[in-house]
Symmetry: C2
Subunit: 361 residues, 2 copies
């Protein structure tokens, strides 16, 4: 670790150590710290160094100093009446991600959830999520002071997850397990069931007796383990109901490019579909859906479009409504048990509830 300043590496080290003891529960919130003398003995430094460390921690808002009292440790929830939740989200077009939407609803919640205050770090500009970028983000999040619990939404590998777990507060990952299929030891994660969405579409196609199903999807994320699993579940279901599936991967380095490619492919794609086809699209978010120009009923009779990943307000024709309530309840349960060692609060998979909404043209 880099020192806070050149001439005070001891106090920075001691500050970090005290902070760890606070966050790990050794020095519990709303209770006096051991005396300066006791702390000096414990860490093998002078009382001056301990006082500097306490200065640092006060600056970081981890401690509250009260005049003429020895009370130092205060949880923010005690100081300000609410637990502090950090929400970190990194993603392209973040507002369209279901997990972002679910947590954003929690932030806006006017009911039971008003016991939380939020620090949100929302990186929605384009650009890849690199190891350097993660390091820079973590360095800043480390400075945030008294966070009770962090929610991390960002697709990461095991090594990156481990880096996040070094933050001085508990981290709950939201999203998919790494492509290795393994979670780092001790990691906590809430995953949406990746198969639910495509299976909902497939069941709808079977129920409504379509003759064929066509799935347009962004090629890149489809290489991930969880997307493959979802596609396989859809294929198996359709096969068992003898409904053919036509897979249409759309190439693109990022969403913008993929959408552009999809839009230019759309006319010839639409022309190639037979009547009785249900066309679905995942991970593309094409604005074309909005304009109803992609599949005008007059020009392409018998072809319906089911949009899987568009926000409700911009959906046309048929769309999927997601209910995040179970997911949100689980997030709250994990937050409230962020230090509970029980296996129950390690990794769970939650199915959103989907509902197909039909709109007349």
């Amino acid at each position: 670790m880099k020192s806070y300043c050149e001439t005070g590496p001891h106090s920075a080290r001691v500050a970090k150590a005290i902070e760890k003891e606070i966050f790990s529960g050794t020095f519990p919130p709303d209770s006096p710290l051991p005396s300066t003398r006791a702390l000096a003995g414990r860490f093998g430094v002078s009382q001056r160094v301990v006082l500097s460390a306490l200065d640092l921690l006060e600056k970081k808002d981890v401690l509250v100093r009260q005049e003429r009292k020895r009370v130092y440790v205060k949880a923010r929830s005690v100081v300000d009446g609410a637990k502090e939740i950090l929400f970190f989200a990194f993603g392209d077009e973040i507002g369209l991600h279901s997990i972002y939407q679910a947590v954003n609803e929690m932030i806006l919640n006017t009911g039971d959830l008003r016991r939380y205050d939020f620090f949100s770090r929302i990186v929605s500009s384009s650009g890849p999520f690199t190891s350097n970028r993660l390091d820079r983000e973590l360095a800043r999040l480390d400075n945030l002071g008294f966070i009770d619990c962090a929610l991390f939404y960002c697709f990461m590998d095991e090594a990156s997850m481990r880096k996040c777990m070094n933050l001085p507060y508990p981290v709950i990952f939201l999203g998919e397990v790494p492509d290795s299929g393994k979670l780092p030891s001790g990691a906590r994660m809430i995953s949406p069931d990746s198969t639910g969405l495509l299976l909902t579409a497939a069941k709808y196609a079977v129920e409504k007796q379509y003759k064929e199903m066509a799935l347009a999807y962004w090629e890149e994320p489809a290489t991930h383990r969880y997307e493959k699993k979802a596609l396989r579940a859809m294929e198996d279901f359709l096969k068992s109901h003898s409904l053919p599936l036509r897979k249409i991967p759309i190439p693109g380095a990022d969403l913008r490019e993929t959408r552009k490619n999809f839009n230019s492919m759309a006319p010839s794609l639409a022309a190639s579909l037979a009547p009785g086809t249900l066309l679905t699209a995942q991970n593309i978010h094409s604005q074309e859906f909005d304009s109803r120009t992609l599949l005008p009923r007059k020009k392409y009779p018998g072809i319906d479009l089911l949009t899987l990943t568009l926000p409700e307000s911009s959906c046309r024709i048929k769309s999927v409504f997601r209910d995040y309530a179970d997911f949100q309840r689980t997030v709250v349960e994990f937050i409230e048990n962020a230090r509970n060692p029980s296996e129950k609060y390690r990794h769970v998979t939650i199915n959103y509830h989907y509902k197909i909404v039909e709109e007349s043209e």
Copy 2:
């Protein structure tokens, strides 16, 4: 200012000074800092102290050190491809505030605005906004590192605004001018036109030839200057059209209590209204509106309800749709000109565009 650590007050002071020069543009982004020796001379300290200060600033993510080069200053927008915007919002039931909604839409925006990344500090738990609380919040925001511009949404007096303006990055206030009617010198602010909403309701009542208008409003915010101004504008307009206005102030220490009071008053209030009355409610957000139980048409014929402050999705009967586009455009313009001394980027008042949405029962 408190020192970062006891033994390094000089380096903390120098770090702060260098930071100021960076944010003020003296040491521009993406360019080398003066040499350690030059900086030592400039601030009258040893090169050791300067090196410590640079350590601090690197830790704060204000500088990027490159091996064997003297390039130190980097704007985050240069490093990561997007400007960093801090959004601070403090309010009861924050998700229902129009300004929160307008900025939140910006955060979610998938189009032109993806050139911004956001740090959001959302305090939506209950509890009053005190001077102590502001100090604690500002101490943490001061630690956030390279922020290009901050948006502050919170009703404040002049002294509090001045405190916020001490942050090491430009601050744009969103909301209403203090009750004193004055902005601190140099403050930048974008205000929504507080008269627009009530005038829209009044014009609707005149146009639809209601015989009376009833306005239920939360008493507490109505003591503020901008609310008084809005009420006066409404009164004047209705008077000039000879439409009587019945004012129904609802008491309550906070929104929760006010809503409770309103709900218990609602039946007798509704019973006291004559047919041909348009009842409007502001700053109450009663969930009762949602259940359509407040004014069932069968029981209270000829009385309509116009809800002014509910989000669109939970509105019933008649509601107002707000269009934030002009406001958002102005926010972007202010962000892009956050260091432009022109009067044009000081204080503007923006009218949302309102549209009355009628729903059949």
